[in-house]
Subunit: 300 residues, 2 copies
């Protein structure tokens, strides 16, 4: 699997050195890298610093894009919690293999933010919302695709929409009461998409960079992956809204837009892999397998 | 999410203390734990030591169940490679986030085993094979379910079958040539199910214990998650076929059988979660979300 790809890369490099006899139309891209090389500036968007979180660990920075259109009250509350320093110094309390990393502290006092909010498990589709629909069937929802750059679903009538739980999805822990969450406990999916959580918990965004800092943490050995010795947990040094960080200390992340012809091409390229390694194209892609490329832009 | 479950457990414990006024039929199990408590000895099977691998790292033991009915020649060859010590002392060379952990060394000489074998991407369905079919649609295959305790798929006519790539699936790395693998490079899935690999590579089994020792490894920072400094990799101390290990040093693992009424109940319980935490049952479960419980049996 890996050697082949390295070989393919070498061959692609060699091919790039070949001089064409006559000017020819560029061959159709066969890989994601080839396709992304054809992207224009308009195929990318910059993360909105007002709704971007920097979660700083000793090992580095995890960057979360929040989804204010899907969970407006929770997103605003999480930003308020970050601004009042609620998360700073919290230990990561849970790392359950093939499921979630989680942090929070039910005992820590909340200052200006709310401790709990009414659930935002789904929301009304607004007429202007752009939804890039996947062409294939999904078992968990009538319609799935991408909205605001996030994996999402809709009901059959197109009236309600919700974020789906894929690798990297960020959500708000709650107790049995649907309205018992508010953002004081957050989790990040680090395993196979737990789609059964969709519409059962408020999802608020997704990790766009640095998830490997979370997914590689030692697994908790207590029930549900909780750390048995809380002091062993990795500490969250701070959580900041990117807009509050001096511009020189920001990382300007660009994310591939999901409402462009290029993104539709990317979906098709991944539904039917065309590179030399694959022998049987799948003819299908599930929502959580669609890549959402990001890149670091030059500082502005 | 977590606190709720702890509360649910506490409530279940309290409920167990309640004295019923009249003898009542046991309530239908609402959770997997409650269902497994009703399992009988016949609902479990013991791993066959002849087709079980112990992958020993400094941090502990990873246990792999091989699938000889799906990939007989590759399984036999991997057992031969283990017996000639091929894997002993190899460094893990690749940890790609949300994809695979991989080890192998194309340069290490093979003694009695084969370096390459004809691909076993799929195999003929044998009349006696028991297949527990999932009730719902799957995007990647006409029919999916479980055979020999492994997630698997079949074509519409029921003529061919193949192992599917779920979290924990073990497969054989290869180059672009379909027949270029043989077991000298092995990978384990540590992310969202890469089902596009199905029928493109020879899958040989799955990790039944200890995957967290692999999934929590630091991610490689080179292309495709390869470690840039190979010496930084974790070393595989040894790989043994369990049957070759003295009985006193074996771990006797029992795995829930997938061809029983109890397993069908488990699927249904996970398609529609019935515990107090869930508000909207999914009415669906994808193949790679079905749990395959294991337990350590008393030594025999």
């Amino acid at each position: 699997m890996p050697r082949s790809m390295r070989i393919a890369t070498a061959l692609a490099a060699l091919a790039a050195l070949t001089l064409p006899i006559a000017p020819a139309r560029a061959a159709a891209p066969k890989t994601m890298a080839e396709l992304l090389a054809t992207a224009t500036a308009g195929d990318w968007r910059t993360l909105d610093p007002a709704h971007t979180l920097y979660v700083d660990l000793d090992a580095g920075r995890v960057i979360i894009e929040l989804a204010p259109h899907f969970a407006p009250r929770h997103v605003a509350n999480i930003e308020a919690l970050a601004r009042e320093g609620y998360y700073d110094g919290l230990a990561i309390s849970r790392v359950q293999d093939n499921f979630v990393v989680q942090w929070g502290d039910a005992g820590r006092p909340v200052k200006t933010a709310a401790r709990t909010l009414p659930a935002e498990f789904s929301s009304a589709v607004t007429p202007a919302a752009v939804f890039t629909r996947l062409p294939d069937v999904d078992g968990y929802a009538p319609v799935v695709g991408f909205a605001d750059g996030m994996p999402a679903a809709r009901d059959a009538a197109g009236k309600t929409t919700w974020l789906t739980h894929c690798y990297g999805t960020v959500g708000v822990g709650r107790d049995n009461d649907a309205d018992s969450g508010g953002g004081t406990e957050l989790y990040v999916v680090i395993g196979h998409a737990p789609r059964q959580l969709d519409r059962n918990i408020t999802a608020v965004g997704r990790v766009v960079r640095g998830i490997e800092l979370l997914s590689s943490l030692p697994r908790g050995t207590g029930p549900l992956g909780f750390y048995e010795a809380p002091a062993n947990g990795v500490v969250i040094r701070s959580v900041h809204v990117a807009a509050d960080v001096p511009a020189a200390q920001r990382v300007v992340i660009e994310v591939l837009r999901t409402d462009t012809p290029l993104f539709a091409q990317l979906i098709e390229l991944r539904r039917n892999r065309a590179d030399d390694w694959y022998k049987v194209p799948a003819g299908y892609i599930d929502l959580c397998s669609v890549p959402l490329p990001t890149r670091i832009a030059a500082r502005r």
